[in-house]
Amino acid sequence: MRRLVLAALLALTLPAGAHAGTLAPLSAAEIPALLKPPAHGVRILAVWALDCAYCEANMQALAKLQRAHPREIELVTVATDSIAHGVAISARLEAMHMDSYPAHAYAEASPERLDYLLDPDWGGETPRTEVIRADGSRLGISGELTAAQLQKLL
């Protein structure tokens, strides 16, 4: 039986290797840590979904902003799709060159409860940008950010 376990483990690691380990499931219990004010600067949650055609451009704009202010901005991506779609989520993150940031995907089969816990004033539309500042203040914006909105995130 042990041999079977080993064989299964081996076979499992082979195809998964390239994208393994970067996508973390996000459950209700982990949300408080994500929303905890950072020690300095801002944490920006780039919330996106597989179905969302506006999200890619929005994430890349946020990544550009983060690269311009690497000390001030901690960028984290959150997919509202279930982690059951993990293969597709990881592939999409890689395709849009967003796979170097910490990445989460919802650990529930429908998104509404986690949406609500992330921000009760948000109806689930994506992209959603959640900004958590060191002073504890918050900002949530739905939709692809305009240049003016991007400027005001810091």
Binding site: V5, A8, P15, A49, D51, Y54, S110, D121, G124, T126
Partner: protein
């Protein structure tokens, strides 16, 4: 059996479970490799649709492991039959709340099922259809409904049967967007196309465009008018990304299509709301509708559509935490149902009017779920209303009568 024996059994059980888990993961990975664009196969998702047939039998469709599966219930949802696969050959299937398999019945008991199939590239899909003429025992080989075969968005299918028995299917389609992109021209959103079958789903006529500039990922609501036509209510894109809704009849002759703006909330946003509207049309022609918008914070509205004009009898049903409302009507009774979420889980909410939607009684809680839930779907049968509510703990048919 002694302590050591028990320990051994526990170990063996644990190992058996581990092997099973690993094998499941393995087969998932293999399948995902075989089918480009396929989401990881797994148990049934929460995207389900339900309908009563003429003999009060309840039918439920959802998707699992590449198959749309059909179950039936003869006891108002208390027990469901073993599932029958609608598509014999597995294929990728969209199964989210806004993009779930659909079911409808023809006048002679024909069983019609539609769904959207993801293609290899992101945001692409084909609208698929199969029928059963023997009460769900066997299904036809699935066909692709649209004649356009470009690998672009044709998804978020909606299914209805008109008064003449025609099978009408509408969907979101990006051929206009792709054509504009190729010419370097701007194009906001997607479009809504539709087709119909006059031969009980054996074939579909070439599709017609209903409206350019629709929202990209919100379900389309279809309802039958008293004249037997099929009407659509869906989210559009007006002006500079204003996400209000349109109403249109879907002619099945040479009559021109004419979609009119029917909500005027002015919510301007470049985003995917993933919350399509609901529509039910009374015997008197009143167009009862529910929709979501967030121009001043998340809100779900009820109104009676007066296409070209703002809706009448507007009522804000709910605010933050509310989602995916549906509406049904029978005579003067109008039912509204929606999901209300908080930190502890999901509550299924109901409001009822007995004067044709002029006044509604206070909201009532009719069910609760700690586990994740799908979108509620209001069903009527002989003047009674039920809510089909698919939860991660199982499918539920919730009665709406006050206790």
């Amino acid at each position: 059996m002694g302590h050591a024996g028990e320990e051994q059994r526990t170990k063996t059980d644990a190992m058996r479970k581990l092997i099973l888990t690993l094998l499941c993961l393995l087969s998932s990975a293999a399948l995902a490799h075989d089918m480009p664009g396929m989401k990881m196969p797994r148990g049934p998702a929460l995207g389900a649709s339900a309908a009563f047939d003429a003999h009060r039998r309840l039918w439920v469709v959802d998707a699992a492991d590449g198959h749309v599966r059909l179950r039936r219930s003869d006891d108002f949802g208390k027990t469901l039959s073993a599932p029958v696969d609608v598509n014999a050959v597995a294929e990728p299937i969209y199964d989210s709340g806004e993009n779930r398999p659909k079911i409808a019945f023809g006048p002679k008991g024909e069983l019609y099922v539609s769904w959207s199939q993801p293609r290899a590239k992101p945001w692409t899909g084909y609208v698929r259809f199969a029928r059963s003429l023997d009460g769900g025992a066997h299904f036809s080989t699935p066909i692709t409904v649209h004649h356009d075969r470009a690998e672009i968005t044709h998804r978020f299918d909606a299914l209805a049967v008109d008064g003449q028995g025609r099978v009408v299917i509408a969907w979101i389609d990006k051929r206009g967007l792709e054509a504009a992109k190729a010419k370097g021209q701007p194009y906001l959103g997607a479009a809504v196309y539709y087709s119909w079958s006059s031969d009980a789903g054996q074939s579909f006529v070439p599709e017609r465009k209903l409206m350019d500039n629709s929202c990209e990922c919100c379900r389309i609501a279809l309802a039958r008018t008293p004249d037997g036509e099929v009407a659509a209510f869906f989210r559009g894109v007006y002006g500079d990304n204003i996400r209000d809704h349109a109403f249109a009849l879907l002619p099945t002759d040479d009559a021109p299509v004419h979609a009119e703006r029917a909500t005027f909330s002015g919510w301007r946003i470049a985003a995917c709301p993933e919350q399509g509207p609901g529509l039910a049309i009374g015997a008197d022609g009143t167009r009862h509708a529910v929709w979501y918008e967030a121009s001043h914070g998340p809100a779900i509205w009820y109104g009676q559509l007066d296409p070209g004009q703002p809706p009448k009898h507007l009522l804000k049903l709910a605010g933050p935490g509310a989602s995916h409302a549906d509406v049904a009507v029978h005579g003067k009774t109008v039912w509204l149902a929606w999901n209300q979420v908080d930190a502890n889980g999901y509550t299924l909410m109901l409001r009822v009017s007995t004067d044709g939607g002029l006044h509604f009684a206070a909201p009532r809680t009719i069910a609760h779920s700690v586990a994740a839930v799908g979108s509620p779907q209001l069903l009527t049968w002989q003047g009674r209303a039920f809510v089909a509510w698919n939860t991660a703990d199982g499918f539920r048919l919730v009665p709406t009568e006050a206790p």
